[in-house]
């Protein structure tokens, strides 16, 4: 299974790199879709159907909105010239990535195998969830009962995003 996930990850990275360098914005958006649908297959291979359903629906809707609404006005890409500012910021970005990668390798050396150290918490949830919440789907039981504050935070994030979109677009539309 790890081999299949690695192949899909390489495919997704190729799609993301192509999306940056594509000449036409429409092909860039469609190759962004490769990343999203590759993630759906990864979720299915890792046995997470809840996340796969959400990801496939949201990916389709964002792709439709991008193609039908956002892209039809400005199709061409804006060209950027490279000066000293861009070189300095690129070098800073590469430096930050190298430092972060070094410290991540130091940190992951002290962890156990992927997922095994988190099993104490997960076992406590899985053992009690069906009797305590009465929900046959354990993901929903954890999401709305044990981690209710998480769900409340997600919905507040969504409502804040809607407020931001409405505010910005209304100001621009009147001028």
């Amino acid at each position: 299974m790890e081999l299949a996930i690695s192949i899909i990850l390489i495919f997704m990275i190729t799609g993301a790199i192509f999306a940056i360098h594509a000449k036409d914005l429409l092909s860039a958006v469609i190759s962004c879709g490769i990343v999203g649908y590759g993630l759906v297959i990864c979720f299915l291979l890792l046995q997470a159907p809840d996340l796969a359903i959400v990801q496939i629906v949201v990916e389709t809707i964002t792709l439709v909105i991008m193609v039908a609404v956002v892209l039809s006005s400005t199709r061409e890409e804006i060209k950027v010239k490279y000066g000293s500012n861009e070189i300095i910021s690129t070098l800073t970005g590469v430096l930050v990535v190298v430092v972060l990668f070094y410290f991540f390798t130091l940190a992951t050396r002290h962890l156990d195998h992927l997922g095994s150290h988190a099993l104490r918490m997960a076992n406590a949830y899985v053992d009690g969830a069906a009797e305590k919440t009465g929900s046959a789907n354990l993901v929903t039981g954890v999401l709305f009962d044990f981690r209710g504050y998480d769900t409340l935070g997600e919905t507040v994030i969504l409502i804040t995003a809607v407020l931001g979109v409405i505010t910005i677009l209304r100001i621009k539309g009147k001028n």
């Binding site: 009465g134 504050y149 969504l158």
Partner: protein, 145 residues
Amino acid sequence: MQGMSVIVKKVTQLIAGIIFLYGIYIIIHGHLTPGGGFAGGALIAGSFILLILAFGSDILKLKQEETGSSITENIAILMVLLIAVMGLLFGAKVFFINYLPVGTAGKLISAGVIPLYNIFIGIEVAAAILTIFLALVIFKEESTK
């Protein structure tokens, strides 16, 4: 906003209702099968977006729909908070506690307040995605005028 061709309109007539019903099914069975409020709400918003894109719409009608969907969204999130605050009045008096009877796992009416949270969060997600879409469409229509 312009509509699309006859083929797209006919296929949309056939499948938009099925998508809407499937979203409601996923929300209501959220505590039994994979899925829940977020996935079902996104599906319901998808059926509305499909209808608007296929048939086109007048800009005044779009503005009315945007007002309605943003009001629906705010009422839904207030209902979620109201159900959570009701936990302070019943049972163990803790915020976000499951105060209704749990029932047997696997039945449609079970799991206490979890189906209620699923329904209202589904309405909220559907209205939020539809509001973002309508705001973008109205902005595009006004800027091309």
